[in-house]
Amino acid sequence: MRGKDVGVTLTRLIETSDQLHEHVQRFAEGARDDTFEQLALRIARFQERYSEGFRRLVKARAAKLESVDDIPALPVDAFRLTRVAAYPPELDRVRFVTSGTTQADPGIHVMRRTDTYEQLSLRSGRDALLPAQQAPVANPTSFVVVALAPSPSDPPSSSLGYMLAHFIQTFDDPALHSQSRAGALPWQARWLVSDAAGVDLAGLRHATEVAARSGRPVLLLATAFALLQLLDRLGVAKLQLPAASVVMQTGGFKGRTREVSAEALCARVGAALELDSARVVGEYGMTELTSQLYEPSIAESSLGRSFAGAPARVYVEPSWLRVTPVDPVTLMPTPAGEVGIARFVDLGNIDSAVSIVTQDLVRRVNGGIQLLGRQPGAPARGCSLAMEALLRD
């Protein structure tokens, strides 16, 4: 292709991608000029046109891209092995790297635009964690937001860190960030984990005092592993968070030496922070996705109101994300109520892979998704090396 043709193609690619971003953002805000299926198929066709890898996958699966179930789901392994993108690397705005393994190459999810990620994650977080508003307001909340996570790197490499940073910036009072104001909680004081010292218990106590003095609840954003460390630091002591505080718990224990069930962790965190355990909200996200799922356990949140009475440990996807349990061999949806591996169709993944499949076992119940752990690889039969063994190294 000549230089001019390349330029024309790139311009067209960007125009189409930008249009899709705008449509998805409008869809997330409630516009219904496109259905979920229409948008998913438009994104899939865009990716088929501009991503050589996806084109090969479509061909290999003889997919016609006529329905959502017909969009070939990309195994998340591909993010470790190759660039998953429908545009050239020079347009990367961020490169989010997966965590957890040592020998295996990490997975990388690149994004050309971050505004869609920001909008979708903020919308999901607001719906699940904050009180529902009677009327839209610019800054509807007054939480003191802190993260049991390390301060994000620059440029950002963790999608979770990036999301938490936006939660901190958006979900609390900007005046609290002031360095000079008495009783303020500046940016660095929001990040309560460091590689050297682990969880900063004194920092969390200070944030709690700032919140209590200003009559605000705390929104504590934390990984499951950091919460365990916090419990270790507290020992038998308790740290009472102000009333109406919320803990968002995310992530598992990939690559860690300790594992605790979600139920046990919630109960212990609730007891240690003197919160109802329902206020410890599970969030499910992964680097390879743009969107997240939450437990609808905060009764006064939009999600809690919509899914009142939902059983514990059920996660709800936003309208722009669809999770389907699928058969691991055929990748077709399993019968209602049966367990399958999770196939995600994420309208946020406009420039990467709109449909991905993981080894996470899920079951659909009462409008939500139960997470049931990880599908083992083909069982290590005798002396044959399993792919999972390499990933564990």
Partner: protein, 367 residues
């Protein structure tokens, strides 16, 4: 202590039983084949080929001498067998009977057939048991996945000598040299992969072609054709749902990330870069052109049990130095190592004494 000649006599007696089983015209040989069709999951042709090429019924004197020298003597030897490669039971039991006149074997629940058949013909050599209960001083040879072996190790009493043979894989190294026969190389690799439907720790899963991508493409295409042709004579056996799911995952990942060449029931993935991928068992291989094969394979070193090679003497020497714990074999012979000791030479293949600072057992002969 047992006299060396007694150890050798027990070994020869076991091999005599194996020869009867390998012979399809004997009653025992015929019965074995029928039973293996139910237990092994392999096609009848796969079983026959495994018996013909991989059951070590005619070892050389040199191999036997090596086996006798390498295996320590023990008050009692305990053998925990795995499934997947049904012929492996012979070598494992052979090591047990060389080590001790008192041998207790726990066969694989999934595929106990060869161990049972050997026992029927030579019941005096070993006992088949449901549980292994070794005592201090005994030797345990255990074969299986790494998690299984870790569990076994944790369950053993102090003072037991533990020989663990865990999960592994075979890799192929091909050096592009003038006059090489690409089709012959491809046929040989296909055969190595198809034996036991690629479920063994010697089965090749990755192929490194030293040189350009074009060389790798040439071999990948030939390999895909060779696998198709071989499958006509040697059909793929039954696969579990889990195995089929792994194949689905591999094919979709490889289609996106690399190029996937159809190869009958299997596939050959080909990467543009030196990047390596571990395909699942069946008939699946990953081919990559690499500049430095040692560097490309180093991350997998502890998993590499066998390196099949078509290479110059210089490269063979480098590979032998870089991967001292792997067996080095000609293409087409990766699945038939001599009966000279355990298949797997990776540490701690020659054992560790449990509960005593975990120092390695000194062997009679070093590798």
């Amino acid at each position: 202590m047992t006299e060396p000649c007694a150890r050798e006599r027990r070994l020869l007696r076991l091999l005599e039983a194996a020869r009867q089983l390998a012979n399809p015209t004997t009653k025992a040989g015929n019965s074995l084949r029928r039973r293996l069709q139910e237990s092994s999951g392999l096609s009848p042709a796969g079983i026959e080929l495994g018996l013909e090429r991989c059951l070590e019924t005619q070892p050389t004197q040199q191999a036997l001498a090596s086996l006798l020298a390498k295996v320590p003597e023990a008050p009692a030897s305990h053998v925990l067998l795995s499934a997947n490669v049904f012929v492996a039971a012979l070598r494992a039991i052979a090591i047990g009977v060389v080590a001790s006149p008192r041998v207790l074997v726990r066969a694989s629940r999934r595929d106990p057939v060869l161990a049972e058949a050997l026992h029927e013909l030579a019941p005096e050599l070993f006992e088949l048991v449901r549980d292994l209960l070794p005592q201090a001083g005994d030797h345990v040879w255990a074969y299986g996945s790494d998690p299984t072996l870790a569990e076994v190790r944790a369950s053993l009493p102090t003072g037991v000598h533990f020989h663990a043979h865990g999960s592994g894989m075979g890799v192929v190294v091909v050096e592009a040299r003038p006059g090489r026969d690409v089709l012959a190389e491809a046929r040989a690799i296909a055969l190595d992969a198809a034996l036991f439907d690629q479920r063994g720790c010697l089965s090749p899963r990755m192929v490194c072609v030293l040189g350009s991508h074009d060389r790798a493409l040439e071999l990948a295409q030939a390999l895909a054709s060779a696998l198709v042709m071989l499958e006509e004579k040697l059909p793929l056996g039954a696969q579990s749902n889990e195995e089929m799911a792994e194949v689905r995952r591999f094919r979709d990942t490889a289609s996106y990330a690399f190029e996937l060449l159809e190869a009958g029931s299997g596939g050959v993935s080909l990467s543009q870069s030196p990047q390596l991928l571990l395909p699942p068992p069946g008939r699946n291989l990953h081919v990559a052109g690499v500049g430095d094969v040692i560097q490309a394979l180093k991350p997998f070193e502890r998993h590499v049990t066998c390196i099949g090679q078509s290479a110059s003497e210089a490269l063979r020497a480098r590979l032998a130095l870089a991967f001292p714990h792997a067996r080095h074999a000609e293409l087409g012979k990766m699945q038939s190592p001599p009966l000279d000791g355990p298949v797997d030479w990776r540490p701690p293949a020659y054992g560790e004494l449990l509960g005593s600072n975990l120092f390695p057992i000194r062997n009679r002969a070093s590798l």
